[in-house]
């Protein structure tokens, strides 16, 4: 692919008042039919189209989107990237994604600002520390970088962290993944859109699916607000709205859609150069390149599609952040928002064929989808192209909910003691 974004192009175009820039991607009008249609132009959907085109040679693809591309959870997350998951299935999938992240900027010729500043997962109880030890050892054996740090070492690396023993839940230690970090979320969608578009993929915004044409257990097309689009292969990547699409196909999903909130502070001088996550006090934070603290809140208990959560969740999160970083008490929240996350019973995604031939689903990423974006698209493209799962997503099939083969990532956090 021609690398037309560079210092030189900036210089050359700058001399001509930046009038020579081409559209980053082509907005298409729907053709009557496609080889593959991807529903949902978020990061995962666009990545799927990109890898279908790049790795599987399928170019006759439409990515249709009911709103604007990258406007769902891609635009609303706290941008954390890591692969330090407990179970083999999850760890290997996220590690696959992390490896792709490491080459993504160059691959897409679009700087996604993947900043490997490390991710800390703090432990506040003895059980937290057991879980951390278990997860880090598992990561090491899976070839994933991870280490266990004690409270003194955590304090040395994050001097502003409150490691006082008199804290309500003192920091006892942490796991640390040096290769983890953050990325510029919007850029991921735009970068994939641009790269997919260059392969000839049609990106069609403001096109909402209203029905599916299914007969004899096969899909043959979609009804949309921009007309009928025929295709015998349809991949749905619609995060919070997956249940709505599944219902059109007569498929039940083990998904509940909940608001997940986040907020940013005002822009400040650098004060936090890594990512800090704490399950026990329910908060996580990093500082963007622009200087805003980016803070993730807890998930709302009740389901909702409104992208609005309850303020008491934000209040608890602010309290948690102050507990972790007392110096942030006088810092101000600038903006808060919510996304709709599609949660599954085992906190793991579904990347699966369905009982409808030609219809595939990629959903259920819950709170963890952003970090998986390239890996998710990559294995989903394989699943669609070959009509069989990639070895890395075999375990993430829908039928695990009847066989009982759950990959219980939140179970790993300890259910009682």
């Amino acid at each position: 692919m021609k690398k037309d974004y560079s210092f030189w192009s900036l210089f050359a175009k700058g001399l001509r008042h930046n009038e020579g820039w081409d559209p980053a991607w082509r907005s298409a009008t729907p053709k009557p039919s496609y080889n593959v249609v991807i529903v949902g132009a978020g990061g995962h959907g666009l990545a799927t189209a990109y890898y279908l085109a790049k790795d599987h040679g399928i170019r006759d693809i439409a990515v249709i989107e009911k709103g604007y591309l990258g406007g769902g959870n891609t635009a609303r997350n706290t941008t954390i990237v890591r692969s330090n998951y407990l179970w083999d299935e999850a760890a290997l999938l996220y590690e696959h994604a992390l490896k792709l992240w490491e080459g993504l900027t160059e691959d897409l010729n679009f700087n996604v600002m993947f900043s490997q500043r490390g991710v800390f997962n703090l432990g506040h109880t003895l059980q937290d520390m057991r879980d951390i030890e278990r997860r880090v050892n598992a990561n090491n054996l899976n070839g994933i970088d991870a280490l266990v740090l004690d409270a003194i070492e955590v304090k040395r690396r994050i001097p502003i962290l409150n490691t006082s023993k008199s804290a309500r839940y003192p920091v006892l230690g942490a796991s640390f993944q040096p290769r983890g970090g953050i990325a510029r979320h919007d850029a991921v969608a735009w970068g994939f859109a641009r790269a997919a578009s260059k392969y000839g993929v049609d990106i069609i915004e403001n096109c909402e699916v209203t029905g599916m044409d299914i007969a004899d257990g096969r899909i043959s097309g979609l009804e949309t607000t921009r007309g009928t689009i025929r295709s015998e292969r349809v991949g749905c990547v619609a995060s919070g709205h997956s249940s709505v699409l599944a219902k059109m196909a007569g498929i039940r999903m083990p998904i509940e859609s909940h608001p997940l909130q986040a907020f940013v502070s005002e822009s400040m001088k650098p004060v936090l150069d890594t990512v800090v996550m704490s399950n026990a006090v329910h908060g996580y934070a990093s500082q963007s390149d622009k200087g805003e603290l980016v803070i993730g809140a807890g998930i709302d208990h009740a389901t909702s599609y409104t992208q609005r959560g309850s303020p008491h969740i934000i209040e608890h999160t602010a309290a948690a952040i102050i507990e972790l970083f007392p110096i942030f008490s006088r810092v101000r929240m600038n903006r808060q928002w919510g996304g709709i996350v599609d949660t599954t019973p085992d906190a793991c995604p579904i990347i699966s064929k369905t009982k409808v031939k030609g219809l595939y689903f990629n959903c259920g990423w819950g709170t963890g989808g952003f970090k998986a974006t390239p890996g998710s698209g990559n294995v989903f493209a394989h699943t669609i192209a070959k009509d069989e799962p990639h070895p890395l997503n075999k375990a993430f099939s829908l039928d695990r909910f009847s066989t009982g083969h759950l990959i219980d990532e939140h179970g790993a956090a300890g259910v009682a003691h």
Partner: protein, 1015 residues
């Protein structure tokens, strides 16, 4: 230093109360009633910062929350506050402010070298470059250093915050003319009303326009009368310095009240919070949030000394500051005329370029008579200057198209004001799902007058696009009537004279970007968003690159992402984007309005939930006794449990060893009060327990206890504990400490939603009972000393029996159960007797050397017996069979108990699952890490297949060697005789880079026959 003050009597500053303050180390005078911005402008300070991307000099633009540039750091040390807007900082004696941009100095800023290179740094340039992942961290460090405004404090916050919950009939947001008027009528009707405003005094725009007349009265007198009456109404709360920042579902309005920041440091109250969050749940909400004037976009419009026209008016009338003496104004509308007249009357020379070729004739006449030089049909093509403004280049505009007909004169000046019209403050209206409507006649996104009346949300005044005062007041009356009617009340008001001296207004010109005769991007930079250095050309570039959704434009250019939340920039940005795409503004739409309207301190959001009161601590009844004995505590959920008791000269290992040996050799005592206790009664309790637990309860006789295993419906172990039969229709269930609340809800859920026909009642009694476990061979003797009405003979009081009796003169339930494998009794007494009984037991045990022990010793003792801890040895993926606990599962019970069916699924019933086992290291001194992974071979080339992990691991003082529990794939077979023969019991444990050879064995290390607990 030049004085820019005009000390007129209508100003809201007190010229008799001078103050001094400093900015960037320089001391300046100001007055009580000033903001930091008005005081700085009064001293002629123009440049306050440098811009985000290009390092361009920047000064004050607005006079309120819309200010994009003048971000300052207030005070130092623990009280410092980053990023306050100088326009919102009330001046006090001794205030210290610093710039937040400009490095190394404000005058010499390194980023300003980017200015000349700016054409190579258009919107999104960083997406197009720095593409080497290895070099990116270096680029990123530089970018990060260059970004950001103020700095976070370096110390914890010494001030406090609190929350107040209010439930009112009506809350009115905005104390301008309309809000006050509505508050008055609603207050008179006896409604419970809260009126709030973010400023230090009520009045809104009237404070900037004191000689406006309402019904023949001056605005000032009108205001005074209304405020006096509101103060006299006990049912009306008037909150100043209170900013409503979010509107949530079901009319929950969040507002933050400033209580301290405006006071000199020495006068701040230590007993009062710094800020208070008001959570106001209101039946009706009236948004009278007004409007904010947006500037026009033109060349060099970001120079210090270029302000909004309304800000110039406010500084003059409210603060007695003429920002400049030679003023050039430009406008698209009528709103600037009053200010222009005021400036001229106060002695400024004023040129007013009205982009309309035919201005409002009434205003034009008034302006002429005030001495304003009105130039119809002109706009400002560009401002000239550097660190301040020197001149404005006018351009003659086409009457229809927004194009230049002819160049205009260069007018020397020291300040420029511009008005592109008013943007209604619709933010709150939109937070919970309201959509603003584009009103082409007013060139504004407006909230409808009846808001969302069905939800109880109403709007009045400028927020609805009603920009005239008289029209606004009339509308406020209408809205008030509607609110009253919706609450089944009617207004009790006399006819009032609402006439004002405003002329009828004429339409504004539809102009946002003032043309300079050049294609976009070729002329002087024209800024849309000052804080993020977004220019009109950037928006055109975004559109050219197909970032055409307004959200894409916003995200690509960073338009509206600053701490001003786009209050000045959004509409201009949308309009410029619309023009670039050849669309109408409604077709382009708006971005979503998100809280907070103005930034809110984290501390305020947290309220009292910080530090020691971050989350409650739960103490057992015996807590003080443990503190007295030097217990080290462990957090278990919200509980604090003694982890071990330190004696002089001991470390943790020595203490745990001593405690374990006491329990095994003589007697120990543990506080077990934190275990969850649920009292269950009713005639169907047995059936209920049969359904809830995996094991059977039909046969359990009164006086007996049984260990129960609770599964979730997925078949996985979720809790365990001993349940005692008190009588046929009365049972006492114990749960894990952490699971108590969840289990109670679980039981209630099944009972109420699935089996309401079962006659059972349940309640938590965890806090009602204090529990002391007396453990060890001497425990019987200890008990016998303090209890005479229970027969402790082994034949009379068997293992898993319980008895009612009197212990240390207190009624007690004594359970002969054991979590250590020793002879043991758990004594339950009314919690208030807990400390008494605890001390009595210690005293009785003294002769045997009784020792209190904590959770560490408890863990060792139970692991020596292979007893699980749910949550430590299980993780939500373990079935009873995985735990080798088939004995606790009654598969033949008639009702299909919770979780049973799941056990039969293909995967759940498959062989080769991970199963609970014991592990012994080859080297008995090695204590494995809890969380070590089990692997078949010692080869560590990833990926290494993992068989399971170590769940519990200790040094056993009893065995004088290490022991561990683990879950291991096919573990039960591995530890069987057959497994040993095949050598499958030999595996490795990996942790932290090291492997240890281990043998898979039974998890019961001590007294496998149970002789001790049955003794």
């Amino acid at each position: 230093m030049t004085d820019f003050r005009i000390r007129h009597p209508n100003a809201r500053v007190d010229f008799r109360r001078p103050l001094s303050f400093s900015f960037d180390g320089q001391v300046y005078p100001g007055y009580a009633g000033d903001t930091l911005a008005s005081a700085l402008l009064g001293n002629g300070v123009r440049m306050l910062g440098r811009s985000f991307k290009y390092g361009r000099p920047r000064g004050i633009v607005g006079a309120g929350p819309e200010e994009p540039n003048a971000l300052v750091q207030i005070e130092a040390g623990p009280l410092t506050i980053p990023n306050l807007k100088a326009t919102q900082v009330e001046l006090y004696e001794g205030l210290i402010a610093r710039r937040t941009s400009g490095w190394p100095t404000l005058a010499f800023d390194l980023k300003s070298f980017c200015g000349p290179l700016s054409r190579f740094m258009p919107a999104g340039f960083y997406y197009k470059t720095f593409q080497n992942q290895k070099l990116w961290p270096y680029f990123e460090t530089i970018i990060r250093q260059a970004a950001g405004y103020g700095s976070a404090p370096e110390e914890a916050d010494p001030e406090t915050y609190d929350h107040r919950h209010r439930h009112v009939q009506v809350v009115i947001v905005g104390g301008g003319a309309c809000g006050l008027f509505a508050a008055l009528d609603l207050g008179r009707s006896g409604l419970n009303v809260v009126l709030l405003d973010e400023q230090n005094e009520m009045g809104g725009w009237l404070l900037s326009s004191p000689h406006t007349s309402i019904g023949g009265e001056s605005a000032e007198a009108w205001l005074r009368a209304i405020l006096a009456e509101l103060q006299s109404l006990p049912n009306v709360a008037v909150l100043t310095r209170t900013s409503a920042f979010a509107l949530h579902d079901m009319n929950l309005l969040l507002a933050v009240e400033q209580l301290q920041d405006h006071r000199p440091l020495a006068e701040r109250s230590e007993s009062k919070p710094r800020q208070r969050l008001h959570r106001i749940r209101a039946d009706r909400i009236i948004l009278a949030t007004g409007a904010i004037e947006r500037p026009l976009v033109f060349g060099n419009n970001d120079l210090p000394g270029v302000l909004t026209a309304s800000a110039l008016t406010t500084y003059l009338n409210r603060y007695g500051v003429a920002v400049g003496k030679r003023v050039v104004l430009q406008t698209s509308n009528d709103h600037v005329y009053q200010g222009a007249c005021d400036l001229a009357r106060m002695g400024c020379s004023v040129v007013l370029a009205d982009t309309r070729s035919r201005p409002n004739t009434v205003w034009e006449q008034r302006a002429h008579s005030a001495g304003v030089d009105v130039r119809p049909g002109y706009g400002i093509a560009a401002a000239h200057g550097g660190r301040t403004t020197h001149a404005a280049r006018l351009a003659k505009l086409d009457g229809e198209q927004n194009t230049v007909l002819a160049p205009g004169p260069l007018i020397e000046c020291d300040v420029v004001g511009s008005s592109g019209g008013l943007s209604p403050t619709v933010h709150l209206y939109c937070h919970d799902g309201g959509r603003p409507l584009w009103d082409e006649s007013r060139l504004a996104f407006v909230a409808p007058e009846m808001g969302r009346a069905e939800a109880g949300i109403f709007c009045t005044g400028a927020v609805t696009g009603t920009f005239g005062l008289q029209a606004g007041l009339e509308q406020a009356q209408r809205v008030t009537d509607a609110v009253l009617a919706s609450l089944q009340k009617s207004a009790t008001r006399k006819a009032r004279n609402l006439e004002t001296d405003e002329p009828d207004s004429i339409p504004a010109r539809r102009i946002f970007r003032v043309p300079d005769g050049k294609p976009e991007g070729h002329g002087k930079k024209a800024f849309v968003d000052f804080q993020n250095d977004v220019t009109a050309a950037d928006i055109h570039l975004a559109v050219r690159e197909n970032y055409r959704s307004i959200e894409h434009i916003k995200r690509y250019t960073a338009l509206g992402f600053g701490t001003d939340q786009g209050k000045l920039s959004n509409v201009n940005g949308f309009a410029i984007a619309a023009d670039a795409m050849g669309k109408s503004i409604p077709e382009v739409g708006t971005t979503t309005y998100r809280p907070a309207y103005s930034p809110v301190t984290f501390g305020t959001l947290a309220g009292a939930h910080e530090g020691d009161t971050f989350e409650p601590r739960r103490y057992t009844a015996m807590h003080a006794a443990h503190v007295k004995r030097d217990a080290v505590f462990e957090n278990v959920g919200q509980w604090l449990r003694p982890q071990y008791f330190l004696r002089p000269g001991e470390d943790r290992d020595a203490a745990v060893r001593r405690e374990c040996l006491a329990a095994r050799r003589t007697v120990g005592i543990m506080d077990a009060s934190t275990l969850g206790k649920i009292d269950i009664q009713g005639k169907d309790v047995r059936e209920f327990l049969n359904r809830i637990y995996a094991n059977a309860w039909t046969q359990l006789a009164p006086g007996k206890c049984r260990y129960g295993l609770m599964l979730d419906e997925n078949g996985m172990v979720m809790d365990d504990g001993v349940t005692a039969c008190i009588s046929d229709r009365h049972f006492l269930m114990t749960t894990t400490t952490g699971g108590a609340a969840r289990v109670l809800t679980w039981l209630e859920n099944w009972h109420q939603t699935e089996w309401p026909d079962l006659d059972v009642y349940m309640t938590s009694v965890t806090d009602h009972w204090a529990t002391a476990a007396v453990v060890g061979p001497k425990s019987r003797e200890v008990l016998a000393k303090v209890c005479s009405d229970i027969d402790f003979a082994p034949s009379a009081f068997k293992f898993m029996d319980w008895r009612e009796g009197t212990v240390a003169d207190v009624p007690a339930r004594v359970f002969r159960i054991s979590f250590s494998g020793e002879l043991a009794f758990e004594i339950n007494v009314d919690a208030s007797y807990g400390p008494h009984v605890w001390e009595a037991l210690l005293e009785a045990g003294a002769e045997f050397g009784i020792m209190p022990y904590g959770t560490d010793a408890m863990h060792v003792l139970r692991a020596e017996k292979g007893f699980i801890i749910v949550g430590q040895d299980t993780d939500g993926s373990m079935t009873p069979f995985d735990l080798d606990m088939a004995w606790a599962v009654a598969m033949k019970k008639p009702f299909s108990f919770i979780g049973k069916r799941s056990l039969a699924r293909s995967d759940t019933s498959a062989p080769n699952r991970k199963q609970l086992v014991g592990l012994l290291t080859e080297d008995p001194t090695v204590v494995l890490a809890e969380g070590a992974q089990i692997i078949e071979q010692s080869d560590l080339e990833p990926p290494v297949p993992m068989l399971g992990h170590v769940t519990s691991s200790y040094f056993s003082p009893e065995l004088n060697r290490s022991i561990a529990m683990a879950v291991v794939r096919d573990g039960i077979q591995r530890r069987s005789e057959e497994g040993r023969k095949l050598g499958r019991d030999a595996v490795f444990a990996y942790a932290d880079g090291k492997t240890h050879k281990v043998k898979v064995v039974s998890p019961v290390f001590v007294d496998p026959e149970g002789a001790r607990q049955n003794a």
